[in-house]
């Protein structure tokens, strides 16, 4: 079980096996016609979550399984590792090194889990037992499979593993409890557990979805390192087409419990043959596209697994569906290159005509909004924030609270939003973007600085004015329904603000129907309750409610981050269209820089309560000058395998510092990749003086960065 000898052998095998297309080496993990169903009962219909999935991975190979929520991708992997609940019915075959795993009892299966096959899960925050130290939990993984090993030796191995996955000072930190670790660090621990016994297969189920982009980049690096170290085959399950693009060798797309397209990454990404995959690729907002072309939304929702249409499960949403599609489920058949298969009866046609997503999906042009022609300076200011600060006291003690520090959640923020403009406020969790938003929405006097909404200063409003301002500023949350009574009908939800603001009864009805139409929902649905709608539709209801009073400024708090990409695209398009039609201004708070690039005119990047770079989207995305902005942009994987393979990612070190104790001088210096290469003399400026936000680049009027050594000319 020594790591070093294992590595050498693994590398040899890896070079011998994964690259050899002859496939002499048998696959490590082989799944055949897997079917998983959860029987009904207690009033629920049974669900078949996976319907005939097959795949195989060899040593050193990385296989990507892509799909949206409910596609069955996670269920199929849980089946492989034997962690489905008892009542799940699994059919087919799962072979590990040729040995059938299905039907093994728990004890035998337990010996394989974590030893020959291991798994990294999505949510690292809840993935570790809160009452044991991380060292104990890693050591436990070592000891279950090597009972003869001593406690001390197991701990020594745990420290080795923790060092390997990049936990600094592992010797000391192994005695920490999970809650003392950040999300990224916990995910590292999970990876350490997964590789503790040199497994042959590691299944990663959305391992980076819950993490910030810069942390995601770190974790992906760790996974690659882990693979090098163990030579294991990796099954990477994700919804993010970017993550898999540069990482995997082959990719499989799942829809409604089945594989709909499989092949090498290049085949699937560049020679897409299945309309669903096309839609999926087209619906992702991309960082590498300058031009604003509307995203490709896939209309409708995935079919409910309890009530499948008889033919192609994608038929109800497919723009090129023909009658024959409903006849029977199309089999997964070879199209084009070796191993490239698609489940679509028109795949051949798509291939011979070389149709792309834009041929298959009708795209409506988004109207240009007239305001955007007017130069920025000549437009009225909708929101002005000047030197805004919000400091929370940090309290300790159960009975007698005492102040032990201050959290500088927002610390001197200035920006403005003009009419018809969208400002994207981006940053990772903990950067203070939500606090900023709350301060603006509260309309109270801020602790420091001023907030001016439509020319009226917060905290100096009469009750009457407040009421009016509230009408002009509306907000859409990530899950707009969570704050509402679930028994309310959609009509009531949208009508409520109208009632509050004294609309006449008869006008309310017509206004609600008008709004439903505006957001692309069927007016007859107003009598239903929100629970009957899908996530994307609920978000539309939330938008309709926010628009009811014809506001001027819409504050959007991560409005699409909970939605699947294909649904997200529709909502983004809707927001863009509404802005153009109604002349709205948006304050768009998000962590996803690709989405912001797509929708915003200007963008402000926040780090630890401060704006580090602000400016128009074109300048910032094309020519970021602040090291943090650069790192953020570089950390986002592109859904383009070739570009992705060629890209060098800047991987930031470490975690966000404690906001109660920010570093002196430049707050970013503890992680700054530029600081790391500066001479000792130059560093002192970063340590001692706080960089101010100002224009740095010649010729870019609207771009300012807070860095002493920001780039001054266009280079990336």
């Amino acid at each position: 079980m020594s790591a070093t000898s294992g590595t050498a052998a693994a590398e040899q095998e890896q070079t011998g096996a994964a690259r050899g297309p002859d496939g002499v080496e048998p696959p490590v993990l082989e799944v055949r016609d897997l079917e998983v169903s959860f029987p009904g009962g207690r009033g629920n219909a049974g669900v078949t979550a996976v319907r005939g999935v097959s795949y195989e991975v060899r040593r050193g190979e990385i296989l990507g399984i892509v799909g949206e929520s409910g596609s069955g991708k996670s269920v199929s992997s849980l089946a492989a590792i034997g962690l489905l609940p008892d009542y799940a019915q699994v059919k087919g075959s799962i072979r590990l090194h040729g040995e059938e795993l299905l039907g093994l009892d728990d004890r035998t299966m337990a010996r394989k889990r974590g030893h020959a096959i291991s798994m990294v899960f999505q949510d690292p925050l809840s993935g570790l037992t809160p009452v044991y130290t991380v060292g104990d939990q890693v050591a436990e993984a070592v000891r279950v499979h090597n009972p003869q090993i001593s406690r001390a030796a197991a701990h020594k191995r745990a420290v080795e593993l923790l060092t390997l996955v990049g936990i600094p000072d592992a010797e000391r930190r192994q005695r920490s409890f999970p809650h003392e670790f950040s999300g990224g660090m916990r995910q590292r621990v999970m990876i350490a557990i997964a590789i503790a016994n040199d497994p042959d297969v590691i299944i990663c189920d959305e391992p980076t979805t819950a993490l910030d982009v810069t942390i995601q980049a770190q974790i992906l690096e760790v996974l690659k390192a882990a693979q090098r170290e163990t030579g294991a085959a990796i099954v990477m399950i994700t919804h993010d087409l970017g993550v898999v693009a540069g990482l995997v060798d082959r990719v499989q797309v799942m829809y409604a419990g089945r594989l709909v397209e499989t092949g090498t990454v290049d085949d699937v990404y560049y020679r897409t043959r299945m309309p669903y995959t096309m839609g999926l690729l087209g619906s992702v907002p991309r960082l590498d596209q300058d031009e604003k072309s509307p995203l490709i939304p896939i209309k409708g929702n995935p079919p409910s697994l309890t009530d499948m249409p008889p033919g192609c499960p994608f038929a109800p949403r497919c723009p090129i569906a023909v009658e024959a599609c409903d006849a029977g489920e199309p089999p997964l058949e070879q199209v084009g290159g070796e191993g490239h298969r698609a489940a679509c009866i028109r795949a051949g046609e798509i291939e011979s005509n070389s149709w792309t997503a834009h041929d298959v999906y009708p795209v409506s042009e988004i109207a240009h909004d007239p305001v955007s022609q007017v130069p920025r300076e000549d437009r009225g200011t909708v929101l002005r924030v000047e030197g805004l600060a919000k400091h929370h006291p940090l309290m300790r003690g159960a009975l007698f609270k005492r102040r032990v520090g201050t959290v500088y959640a927002v610390d001197g923020l200035s920006f403005d939003i003009r009419e018809g403009e969208t400002l994207g406020l981006v940053g990772e969790s903990g950067c203070g973007k939500s606090s900023t938003l709350m301060e603006i929405l509260s309309l109270d006097k801020p602790q420091q600085g001023t907030v001016e909404v439509l020319g009226k200063e917060s905290g100096r409003l009469s009750n009457r004015e407040r009421f009016d301002v509230r009408r002009d500023v509306q907000v859409v949350f990530q899950d707009p329904m969570s704050s509402l009574d679930p028994r309310m009908r959609v009509f009531e939800i949208i009508a409520e603000p109208l009632r509050t603001h004294g609309y006449a009864k008869d006008r309310i009805r017509s206004r609600v129907l008008e709004l439903m139409e505006l957001v692309g929902l069927d007016g007859s649905a107003v009598t239903r309750s929100p629970a009957e709608f899908s996530g994307g539709q609920r978000q539309r209801i939330g938008i309709a409610r926010a628009l009811a009073l014809e506001p001027k400024l819409l504050v959007l708090d991560e409005p699409v981050s909970a939605l699947d990409v294909s649904i997200q695209a529709g909502v983004i398009n809707l927001l863009e269209e509404l802005k153009a039609r109604l002349g709205l201004s948006y304050l768009f708070v998000a962590h996803d820089l690709s989405v912001v690039r797509h929708i915003a005119d200007r963008v402000a990047v926040m780090y630890l309560g401060k704006i580090v770079e602000i400016g128009d989207v074109q300048s910032i995305y094309r020519r970021p000058t602040h090291p943090y902005t650069k790192a953020l942009l570089s950390a986002i994987p592109l859904p383009d395998p070739e570009k992705e393979r060629r890209r060098e990612h800047i991987v930031l070190q470490g975690d966000l510092p404690n906001p109660a104790d920010p570093p002196s001088g430049c707050r970013f210096r503890t992680r700054c990749q530029k600081f790391a290469v500066l001479s000792e003399d130059d560093r002192s400026a970063c340590r001692e003086r706080e960089p101010e936000l100002r224009h740095r680049v010649e010729g870019a009027a609207d771009q300012a960065a807070a860095c002493h050594y920001a780039d001054t000319e266009g280079s990336r």
Binding site: A110, R113, V131, F177
Partner: protein, 327 residues
Amino acid sequence: MAKFLVRRLLSYLVLIFLASSIAYLIAATTLSPRAYFEQQQPPPSDQAIERQLDKLNLNPETPLAERYATWVAGVAVGDFGQTITDQSVNEAIARKAGVSLRLIVAGTVIGATLGVAMGAYAAVRQYGRFDRVTTVAAFFLLAVPAVVVAVTLQVIAVWINDVSGMRLLEYGGEYSANLDAGFWGTLLDRVQHAILPTMALSLSLFAAFSRYQRNMMLDVLGSDFVRTAMAKGLTRRAAMIKHALRTALIPTITYFTFTFGILIANATFTEKIFGWHGMGAWVVDSISTQDVNAVAAVTFFMAVCVMAASFLSDVLYAWLDPRVRVS
């Protein structure tokens, strides 16, 4: 960690003092010892009553503050005064505390352990037969007052004894008087007497704990860390015990602290019903005999019990959840 426990212990001492003081003050103002003496046959003379009241520090003519000061001064040196029949309260405590403690400790340990174990198991087998049976049983026990449970147990005991034709189960007193059966015989006799009251006490505790533990366990069963534990290579059973149950026990410890007060109240009824001469039975008697000092002393005893239980849960908590030790 030790500092944390010492701090807790100190605050418990303060609470015990406050609780018994308040009990003394309430008893001293609401009970009327004079009435007790006036009812005696033949009624003693007024002077005799007065003298007796003064002697026992029970005279309502003496200002309350003064009586309280005398009582506190006594307690400070470990003297709880005299009962209304002019016997040493301390001696009575010495006789009765053990009786109550045996009942409470056995009832708690059996009720809580069984409750936790069965609740946790029921959760693992959710909707299984075991789960359904324990759920029905627990709800039944929770719905029926403890007194009714105790009396029902007695009825059942009579029936069992009749059917078996032997006195297997005893339901009056703590032991048979004048028994001479050597060590083992005496022990057997005591166990025979203890089974029913202990059961009566532990049943309601069992019901509450099994419900609570079941819910706590269900909360953690599906949690990601249990899945992680299994993914590491632990069997389902090992993951359940080492990771799920361990974590699910923590809130139960807190719950135990809250329910312990009710348990003591139940112990009082149980002692009365089964004729055990413990502290609980004594306090009921003392109230009817207007015995201020005894009431205060029993309250003191109960406060100590509650605080001891709280302290025990603090220790258990710190043991189960090592996170409190580091923060």
